[in-house]
């Protein structure tokens, strides 16, 4: 080994040791990758300055991208609101109560870590402010820009320990470097919120989690690096900052069958947008293509979800608030180290390789909103997927059915909004007092509260559409056409190979029985007559 090699190896070793010793969970800024972009943002004068805050960066971005903030203002990513044109229900994160973390109101500072804006900490947020649009949340390419819960959508501007008391330090991003490195959205930027919905990795969707950052081909043929290597934006083809693909109004059936992408009145994020209406080829193509009239592609091609890591399947808020013998909150882990109980949140159940439930779905979803009167003796559907075998608009879709228990007002029979996070005395996660948390939450939204609460069983459906498996792993015929099969609980279908016709069965067995009796009678007659003959 030469002296130069020796010194190089030593330096490398020293650098490696320093890297290992660092507690920082965020990766170091990536080296600038080759890009086909026609602009090098580091050369823009507006970005060659120090930035003290996110809004300052946005102000600089808008000097060139003059229409960007106005476009973002029109999107659900900004408004967190969606008016369903069919049901006339006002939906969106801002309005819906789900059965995960339940509701945004009274918890703005925490939840808005996933808002594409800065400073949303209460009901008085200025949705018209262009400088409050967060460009970096979607366009960071350094991997150092991170918005933490509790900062009202801002990144941390100083190094902080997160989660608190974890010993892990999240470094404040160098906003100038982040601004100069902006680029297209990526799996990392989309995933920083969509992989972690519901309070953690893989919690909410079941088909979206951090394993999609670098999935194997078995997990996702579209996103696998040794497969098609798609980013999210490849399917969710964005136009004017509006990202297509909505779970509030799902495109379940293409109006004109398959279409090519680029059509303005159609959703580019459907399977048919690329694969067309008759996607199968080869020996069984006709038979398989006939299935597409009634089956969503996802039904066969996503045979299970959560195939790389477990997803949360149950959340029981009713047990939240238990403290240990020292009066301190505690956690219990399950067999693979996920939380099975958390004093802040109650009981959980995780599951991997989940077989989906299957439902008829025509894209129309009815929500149980806060105003909706409910029957607490029944399991409340937070959202109901409409559809039937006869409406001509439905297909059989795979879904994740997430169950739980959450508080409702015993007086009004309506779901409750409660205050989970905050530095005040009313937050459930601080004082474990349901009465205070509910009172605060309901006051925040200006709704009446009877003062009495109980817990109601709820379930929420999530369409499964990501994590498409290789075609060899699509459901085989026998997985539906023999009993017990995947579609056993789906009403209104005749399943050849499994379902019988009672009349036809009775007739068939009758004929078989008669034939058997005929054989026996004929044989007996033969024996009888042969004996008679022998006697003579």
């Amino acid at each position: 080994m030469s002296l130069r090699q020796f010194i190089s190896a030593g330096l490398l070793g020293l650098l490696a040791s320093l890297a290992l010793a660092s507690n920082a969970p965020t990766p170091a800024p990536a080296a600038k990758a080759a890009t086909s972009s026609t602009a090098d943002h580091s050369k823009f004068k507006a970005l060659q300055q120090s930035f003290a805050s996110g809004p300052e960066v946005t102000k600089a971005c808008l000097t060139c991208h003059t229409e960007a903030a106005k476009q973002v203002h029109k999107t659900k990513h900004w408004t967190w609101e969606f008016m369903n044109p069919d049901t006339k229900q006002r939906l969106g994160k801002k309005n819906v109560i789900n059965n995960f973390c339940t509701a945004v109101p009274s918890n703005y500072e925490f939840c808005t870590a996933c808002h594409v804006g800065y400073g949303w900490k209460d009901q008085n947020y200025d949705f018209t402010s262009e400088n409050n649009v967060d460009c970096l949340a979607c366009h960071d390419t350094t991997g150092t820009y991170r918005k933490l819960p509790g900062l009202a959508g801002h990144p941390t501007y100083k190094d902080v320990e997160f989660p608190p008391k974890s010993g892990k330090i999240v470094k404040a991003p160098d906003l100038r470097a982040v601004a100069q490195g902006v680029g297209k959205s990526s799996r990392d930027t989309c995933g920083s919120c969509h992989f972690y919905g519901g309070g953690g990795d893989a919690v909410k969707h079941g088909d979206l989690d951090s394993s999609l950052k670098n999935p194997g081909k078995y997990l996702d043929v579209h996103m696998a690096k040794d497969g098609l290597n798609f980013t999210c934006g490849e399917c969710h083809k964005t136009s004017g900052h509006d990202v297509p693909g909505s779970r509030y109004a799902v495109t379940t059936v293409e109006k004109e069958g398959g279409h090519m992408r680029g059509k303005k009145d159609a959703n580019p994020a459907t399977c048919q947008a690329c694969h067309g209406g008759k996607p199968h080829q080869g020996e069984k193509a006709d038979r398989l293509n006939a299935h597409t009239a009634k089956l969503a592609c996802q039904t066969c091609h996503i045979p299970e979800f959560a195939r790389a890591q477990p997803t949360k399947m149950m959340w029981d808020w009713s047990t939240a608030g238990k403290l240990d013998k020292d009066g301190k909150p505690f956690k219990i882990k399950d067999s693979v180290g996920h939380d099975a109980y958390d004093s802040k949140k109650g009981d959980f159940r995780y599951e991997s390789n989940v077989i989906p439930d299957y439902v008829w779905f025509n894209g129309k979803v009815d929500y149980t909103l806060r105003e909706t009167k409910l029957d607490p003796s029944k399991v409340i559907e937070i959202n109901h997927f409409n559809g039937s075998p006869d409406d001509g608009k439905s297909k059989i879709w795979p879904i994740k059915r997430f169950v739980g228990k959450q508080p409702y007002d015993v007086g009004s029979n309506q779901l409750l909004v409660f205050h989970t996070y905050g530095k005040d005395d009313s937050a459930l996660w601080s004082n474990f007092n349901w009465d205070k948390a509910i009172e605060f939450g309901m006051k925040e939204i200006g709704a009446e509260y009877s003062g009495k609460y109980a817990f109601v069983s709820t379930e929420m459906s999530w369409p499964i559409t990501h994590m498409v498996a290789p075609k060899a792993d699509a459901l085989a015929c026998a997985q539906c056409h023999t009993g017990p099969g995947r579609l056993d609980k789906v009403p209104g279908i005749y399943m050849p190979g499994r379902h019988g016709n009672a009349l036809l069965d009775t007739l068939g067995w009758s004929f078989a029985g008669l034939a058997f009796l005929g054989v026996v009678a004929h044989g007996a007659g033969r024996i009888y007559t042969s004996r008679k003959g022998a006697e003579k």
């Binding site: 081909k217 159940r349 077989i355 498996a469």
Partner: protein, 182 residues
């Protein structure tokens, strides 16, 4: 006389056909687990460690992982391997039955099926043992008794942590190596 021989042959044929048909059901058992996949594994592992008689965990295989690494999917399967020198030693000492080392270590398979439920698959050690003479029959009879204890669950107790990192745990279908009581 012809009728008698024909009857004997027919009887033997029917018996053989029945035995052929029922053999798989007799040799192997499958029961549904009340727990999730990993929790079932963890509880069985804990039971094995608590059973005594020299039982120790020898490995946890994940053959589904190997399929994933090859770009495919199968529903999860985890195979718990356990061994006890108390039972393996007498069999391994006897030349005439040493070939039964092929059955070591004992395996319990935990898997999910298309109905979404978790099942436990075991070998009927007692019945199999009786096919190989008195020595193996006695040893395997005791193994069968212990195996029953592996599958007695107390749902009131919290789920233990699944024990990974043993030989074979990450290698999919690879070799388990030594240790774990054998």
């Amino acid at each position: 006389m012809v009728k008698l021989i024909a009857g004997l042959i027919a009887g033997a044929a029917i018996t053989m056909a029945l035995a052929w048909n029922m053999a798989s059901g007799l040799m192997f058992k499958e029961v549904q687990s009340p727990f999730g996949l990993e929790e079932t594994v963890a509880r069985i592992q804990q039971n094995i460690q608590n059973t005594g008689n020299g039982w120790a965990l020898a490995g946890l295989r994940n053959p589904a992982k190997a399929v994933q690494q090859d770009g495919g999917n199968v529903l999860p399967v985890l195979m718990i391997e356990a061994c006890s020198t108390k039972y393996s030693k007498p069999v391994l000492k006897e030349d005439t039955v040493r070939f039964l080392s092929i059955l070591m270590p004992c395996k319990i398979s935990v898997y999910k099926k298309n109905d979404g439920k978790v099942y436990i698959g075991t070998m009927n050690a007692g019945l199999m043992g009786r096919m190989f003479g008195p020595l193996v029959g006695e040893v395997m009879g005791q193994v069968a008794e212990d195996q029953k204890k592996f599958l007695i669950f107390d749902a009131s107790k919290p789920a233990p942590k699944m024990i990974e990192g043993m030989p074979g745990a990450a290698s999919g279908g690879g070799a388990a190596g030594g240790g774990g009581g054998c």
